[in-house]
């Protein structure tokens, strides 16, 4: 029996961590992740979990401690946001390079300057190339489900890679939503016992972690990291299938919403997908064939699958809640790359929305969908990349 409650996204993920009961958690507080760790700290203080909670003096040390703990040979978790993730940047590459299965919820927030505590995706996009798997979540339920699945994916013996689970800061992290929790026993069974691989704490079989690798072999190590990423998609799908059996909720590499017979579509991550789906329903009622694709697995990016899901469309708008200044938005770049391999492909535009917590409103989705209808009709794109919801 699922327990149905009304909780914040942070609380939902903290509950997932309670149920997983990791061995070590090293963390540092940052808005809007704070509530998540505060709740988890209460579980530790009340002896509800066995976790060693190490409250370090910076996010750099949080990730460093996670690396040491994970190499030690146990289940490790942390969580962060924004500047915290940026400060970890150096260590993210080391965690993945050492193939350590650390799980990290990221409660998405903008990056300074100017300082701003509200949601956008600049933090996680900055970690895009770090070798971490990235799962994105529309709401608290998805954040909870993704967190549980993240442990299974990270710790899979064929990959052993760290996983980031994203949810929108404040919009999801702090707002109360309906959630169905799995039973503790079900979670315990689903996640399973941690299986160490080359643990540093195996004194009888000493291992050296973190060698110097010069040009004679470095290139091969990096190719191995690329190759292991190619196995991730199938594992994500297998884990999702297994999860569906206990959770009843179905997950894929992305969510395709009313896409099969659509002519135009939005591609959008996380919470804004919810708002967009409502607007798409309204457009459908008016006879406009609109749809949506919401990526779940952003790293590795499922290029072929995304291209297959979108290639029949006439016009697409990729909405990015982050910018690559001087370039297109990061999601747009991926979707463009995916579709370039298809001979007949839709027209594409890129909108940057919602930076630093600027609201993404139904009218923004309406405006974009109307533009797409026009593009589909004329087959002409005037401006490829544009900011929307801007105060003039």
């Amino acid at each position: 029996m699922a327990r149905i409650l009304a909780v914040s996204g942070n609380e939902a993920v903290a509950e997932a961590l309670r149920q997983v009961n990791p061995d070590v958690c090293a963390a540092y507080p940052i808005t809007p992740q704070t509530e998540l760790m505060q709740r988890f700290a209460s579980f530790v203080s009340d002896g509800i979990v066995d976790t060693e909670l190490i409250l370090v003096e910076s996010e750099h040390s949080a990730m460093s401690t996670c690396i040491g703990a994970s190499a030690g040979g146990g289940r490790v978790v942390t969580a962060t946001s924004s500047q915290g993730l940026a400060l970890m940047w150096e260590m993210l590459y080391i965690a993945s390079g050492l193939r350590l299965p650390i799980v990290m919820p990221v409660v998405n927030r903008s990056l300074s300057a100017p300082i701003n505590i509200h949601c956008d995706h600049s933090d996680a996009m900055g970690a895009r190339d770090s070798g971490w798997i990235q799962l994105w979540s529309e709401n608290a339920q998805e954040a909870y489900d993704n967190t549980l699945q993240a442990f299974r994916i990270a710790e899979h013996m064929d990959i052993r890679l760290p996983v980031i689970v994203c949810m929108d800061g404040f919009i999801i992290g702090h707002s109360i939503q309906r959630i169905e929790y799995l039973e503790d026993e079900e979670v315990k069974k689903f996640v399973g016992e941690f299986k160490p691989l080359n643990p540093l704490l195996d004194i009888d079989n000493p291992k050296s972690y973190g060698p110097l690798i010069l040009p004679d072999l470095y290139h091969e190590y990096k190719r191995a990291q690329h190759e292991v990423m190619t196995k991730v998609k199938d594992i994500v799908l297998d884990v999702a299938e297994e999860f569906e059996k206990i959770g009843g909720r179905r997950y894929g590499l992305f969510e395709a919403y009313r896409l099969d017979d659509a002519e135009t579509a939005l591609v959008i991550l996380n919470s804004a997908a919810g708002t967009s789906k409502d607007v798409i329903d309204e457009f459908r009622e008016r006879g406009i064939m609109a749809g949506l694709l919401k990526p779940r697995l952003f790293r590795p990016f499922p290029y072929e699958e995304v291209a297959n899901a979108l290639k029949h469309l006439k016009a697409i708008c990729v909405l990015d809640r982050a910018d690559s200044f001087g370039g297109y938005g990061p999601l747009f770049m991926e979707v463009s790359s995916a579709l370039y391999q298809v001979r007949e492909r839709p027209r594409m535009i890129n909108k940057i929305y919602g930076l630093g917590g600027r609201d993404y409103l139904p009218q923004h989705a309406e405006q974009v969908l109307s533009e797409l209808v026009e593009i589909a009709k004329t087959d002409k794109v005037e401006i490829i990349k544009e900011y929307i919801g801007v105060r003039e």
Binding site: H60, S64, T65, G68, G72, V76, L201, S208, P211
Partner: protein, 314 residues
């Protein structure tokens, strides 16, 4: 406080029977102090040790591709975070021990240079000490960023010629005195802090053995001559270490639960020039216009030695 077990002091005969856990084949320069530090520390331990190094000479020279000089578990992750990294391993150890998945008594030791300790790693070191991890942090202090080519660090002594504090027509080498890190660590009120030197191996090993028997965070600063950076002879690491102690440039002392004890007092305190003279990095100090630097250097050493003697237990 749990009583500290007093350990029998190792004799050379017993030491010669112990296995060398840091093997030859590493690529540190001949005459480097760092491998001597590592060997002495590992010989001193009666327990299995998990070691951690920050990025630096020792790290890049001891584990390259498929070859490792470490016969014990060893981890390197980055430059500024050895204390945080080993704190993670130690935390995992505590959990797994509680869960009875590990039964052995394991000790956690870092070996980091002065750059990774005094400078870029000071924050993570301070944090790990404050949190009380059961670990021994060892700094092998060679007084500059030797790995990247002898750049000044906050451990570089006054007047030293380094590649980023070069002796020029206007500036006579490093213009600042070195940071007194051992005192900074003692100010953390951790159970054990010590300064040691490879020239006084028995003193060094006793300190390591004592430190490893104490629960909680411990810090040891060990002088580690670098003939490339100090511009000295390749076979004088021990000689220079001894001169550092005899001139009181590098006093041997320990701070146990706040109480300072000087562990070696030179019979006759030698003038600092005896330590400076054999090192090319101080050559320019012997020009008449730089006389004031030697004078200041001597005053700094004297003041610290006086202060230590005043504060130390009789």
């Amino acid at each position: 406080m749990a009583p500290v077990r007093t350990l029998p002091v190792l004799t050379l005969k017993e030491l010669s029977k112990k296995e060398d856990l840091f093997t030859h084949g590493h690529r540190l320069c001949s005459g480097c102090g760092a491998p001597i530090v590592v060997k002495m520390v590992l010989f001193a331990s009666d327990h299995p040790v998990v070691a951690c190094s920050s990025t630096g000479c020792l790290e890049v020279s001891s584990c390259i591709s498929q070859h490792t000089a470490w016969k014990i578990p060893w981890i390197h992750s980055a430059f500024e975070n050895a204390a945080a990294t080993v704190a993670g391993v130690e935390s995992m150890y505590r959990v797994l021990k509680k869960k009875h998945r590990i039964n052995k008594e394991i000790k956690f030791v870092t070996f980091c240079g002065d750059g990774g300790t005094y400078d870029i790693g000071l924050q993570s070191l301070s944090g790990a000490m404050e949190r009380g991890h059961d670990m021994l942090y060892i700094c092998y202090d060679n007084g500059a960023y030797m790995n990247t080519g002898i750049q000044r660090s906050s451990a570089t002594p006054l007047g030293a010629d380094t590649t980023t504090s070069p002796v020029g027509s206007v500036i006579p080498g490093k213009t600042q005195q070195r940071k007194n890190l051992t005192r900074i660590m003692a100010a953390h009120d951790i159970p054990y802090v010590a300064q040691a030197s490879i020239s006084h191996w028995l003193d060094l090993m006793k300190k390591v053995r004592k430190a490893l028997e104490i629960k909680g965070p411990k810090f040891m600063n060990i002088l580690s001559p670098c003939n490339r950076g100090w511009r000295s002879r390749t076979d004088d690491a021990i000689l220079l270490s001894r001169l550092a102690v005899d001139t009181c440039y590098w006093p041997l002392y320990e701070v146990e639960n706040g109480a300072i004890r000087i562990t070696f007092k030179p019979k006759e305190k030698k003038p600092i020039v005896d330590f400076l003279k054999p090192q090319g990095r101080f050559k320019h100090l012997f020009r008449p216009e730089n006389e004031w630097i030697i004078k200041k250097f001597q005053e700094d050493v004297d003041r610290e030695w006086e202060r230590l003697q005043k504060e130390a237990l009789p």
